[in-house]
């Protein structure tokens, strides 16, 4: 009896979490012209609209550009920061760690507002590069955290070994450290991409028309013309998120296997 009750409860919780998300699927295939349920009939017109409209295509392209640039920058900065923090021991290391994770805890609206003010002063507001920098700032902590975690099992003597065998520090890092922490770096990179790809608040502050990203375009669509195209866009974003989720899970498993194999010996 209790077991059945537990099962039922679990399904209810799952439905609670997922059902609102599922509502968007029938909406995106609506044959009507406004966002209402139940849908009058089914059609692919809103997908057609999405893929033929320059505004949506530009927004998609911008999202990928910003996401990829953010991923590259945040991975570079986060990995080197994590390695440096892990290898050294200095006074105030804890403070640096807290400062590095600040962007994760400060309310996004505060970050966004201050970035808008700061970026306006140097002419970065209303540019894609401004958005890339802003996204890099909020995405880097995720990379720092995942890379620090994978460095926990890294033996610093390997770096010393590589140096003693004639490898200059950068080469030693690339040949010896990086292959060992790759799962953490890859997971961090995916997080960074996803963080940028999903982000709306900063995009509202920093991007002007023409530099809209996908979430920003959806937000504009919601406010200006309540067209079901945003439902189609939403479904596309959900599917992309799933892909990212699977990739990061695969990376995590590969990393776990690597660690397990090392531990087994």
């Amino acid at each position: 009896m209790t077991r059945i009750a537990t099962k039922v409860f679990a399904w209810i919780v799952l439905a609670f979490l997922v059902a609102p998300l599922l509502a968007i699927f029938p909406l995106s295939f609506s044959s009507g012209t406004i966002l209402t349920l139940p849908v009058p009939g089914y059609s692919l017109q809103w997908y057609e609209e999405f893929f033929l409209n320059d505004r949506w295509l530009d927004a998609t392209r911008n999202s990928f550009i910003v996401g990829t640039a953010t991923m590259v920058l945040a991975t570079l900065l986060g990995t080197t920061a994590a390695y440096g923090l892990n290898m050294s021991n200095f006074r105030g290391k804890q403070i640096v760690l807290v400062l590095l994770s600040m962007p994760m805890v400060v309310p996004l609206i505060v970050t966004a507002a201050s970035m808008f003010l700061a970026f306006s002063a140097v002419g970065l507001a209303n540019t894609l590069w401004g958005l890339v920098i802003a996204h890099t700032i909020i995405a880097t902590p995720y990379v720092v955290i995942t890379v620090l975690a994978s460095l926990q099992t890294f033996d610093p003597n390997l770096m010393r070994g590589a140096l003693s065998l004639g490898a200059p520090p950068v080469t030693a890092f690339r040949e010896v450290v990086l292959p060992m922490i790759l799962p953490g770096v890859a997971a961090g990179a995916i997080f960074a991409f996803a963080t940028s790809f999903d982000e709306l608040v900063i995009a509202i502050f920093i991007t002007g028309p023409g530099e809209f990203t996908l979430p920003r375009q959806m937000f504009a669509g919601l406010r200006e013309f309540l067209s079901p195209t945003i439902a189609a866009a939403a479904v596309i974003m959900i599917l992309l998120s799933f892909v990212l989720l699977f990739v990061s899970e695969a990376v995590r498993r590969r990393g776990e296997k690597l660690v397990a194999r090392r531990a087994n010996q």
């Binding site: 033996d155 003597n157 390997l158 010393r160 070994g161 590589a162 140096l163 003693s164 065998l165 004639g166 490898a167 200059p168 520090p169 080469t171 030693a172 040949e175 010896v176 292959p179 060992m180 194999r261 090392r262 087994n264 010996q265």
Partner: protein
């Protein structure tokens, strides 16, 4: 190569002070000669590993100069020093095969593929691991990993080899086997090796010279025989091997002989006099090794007493006898087990003797005194 008159490595007045003001190496002056096997031995925290780390370039001296072949080494980064280093945990690259591990230093030196393959093969032959070249390090036993680490440190013909307790993780039998193998490689290759250990049998069997470290200073440096049989102070005597230790008061000193009374006015014993030893009237610590105590009276031995056996401990190849000697106290003697010789039993009263040359007289706690001066 510079002239052979210059030692290979010179530590010139080197200090190492860690954050917080702990001085781990204190005004170190050390020379490593061309082609020699020098062992640094001492308890943990004595500065021996820090000394190796400074030579390797992983730590920078706080003060002083390290020279290699006459040229200052302080500002040369590790990767340009060209030293083969063997770490205690081997530090083999887990994502590379044995052959790839060995090829790494050659790749870094941009050797061509044919040269790399040949040298990897020859070096693996040398350590008898040719059959395992395609294995991953995690598929090897501890002893095999150790030999790969050794091979990797030798494959690029380094200018010198540094080893930081390389046998620490192996069991006793394998360790003794590897000691001989490292010694053989040293003899075959003629390359200078600096070896750090806290195991005295390792230091004594492998080295040309041994440097005994304590509190950041070298207490004694010399051949294994010197350090073991002619320790220069109480620390060296008690760190290297076992000792009977007697507190005594010096009564008089003749040419090479110290006469002292054990305890307060106890039996007079004779010990070997050394420069800097205790003076007449001073308190002294007398030390004699268990294997130097004979169980018969011998002409020419200055110390002859009688002892009663209080305990006999069997160790397979030798027995240890605990003796009670009147006016001296407890003494331990160590005798080989010889077939056909009568054994010893508790309660036996035996003649006990030792040569004054085997008994060393030291001033009380020289390490404390040097501390006081510093």
């Amino acid at each position: 190569m510079s002239s052979r008159t210059e030692p290979l490595v010179v530590f010139d007045s080197v200090d190492k002070v860690y954050e917080g003001g702990v001085k781990v190496v204190d005004n170190l002056n050390l020379r490593v000669e061309h082609g020699e096997f020098l062992t640094l031995i001492g308890p943990s925290g004595s500065g021996k590993t820090t000394t190796l780390m400074m030579l390797a370039g992983f730590e920078a001296p706080t003060k002083g100069i390290i020279r290699f072949d006459g040229a200052p080494l302080n500002d040369v980064p590790t990767y340009k020093r060209d030293f083969g280093i063997v770490f205690q945990n081997y530090a083999l690259f887990p994502h590379m095969t044995v052959a790839e591990n060995l090829a790494f230093p050659l790749r870094m030196r941009r050797e061509n593929k044919a040269v790399i393959a040949e040298r990897v093969r020859n070096t693996l032959d040398m350590v008898k691991l040719s059959a395992l070249s395609d294995r991953m390090p995690t598929q090897l036993s501890g002893g095999q990993q150790q030999r790969v680490a050794l091979a990797r440190a030798l494959v690029f013909s380094p200018r010198m080899v540094l080893m930081d307790e390389p046998l620490g993780a192996l069991d006793k039998q394998l360790r003794e086997h590897m000691q001989l193998e490292i010694k053989r490689l040293h003899e075959d290759l003629g390359i200078a090796m600096l070896y750090v250990t806290h195991d005295q049998s390792e230091a004594l069997t492998m080295s040309d010279r041994v440097a005994v470290f304590e509190q950041g200073k070298i207490q004694q440096i010399g051949s294994p025989r010197d350090v073991y049989s002619r320790p220069s102070n109480r620390f060296v005597a008690s760190f290297m091997g076992e000792n009977n230790r007697l507190d005594a008061t010096v009564a008089g000193i003749s040419e090479e002989c110290v006469t002292a009374h054990v305890g307060q006015g106890g039996v007079a014993v004779r010990a070997h006099a050394v420069a800097g030893g205790p003076a007449a009237g001073e308190q002294a610590t007398l030390m004699v090794r268990p294997e130097c105590i004979q169980l018969f009276h011998r002409d020419g031995f200055e110390n002859n007493v009688e002892g009663r056996v209080t305990d006999v401990i069997y160790h397979g190849d030798h027995v240890r006898l605990c003796l009670s000697v009147e006016g001296i106290g407890a003494l331990v003697a160590r005798r080989p087990v010889v077939t056909g010789e009568p054994g010893f039993a508790e309660g036996d009263v035996l003649p006990v003797s030792w040569s004054a040359r085997d008994m060393h007289a030291f001033t009380i706690d020289p390490s404390e005194r040097t501390e006081g001066n510093a």
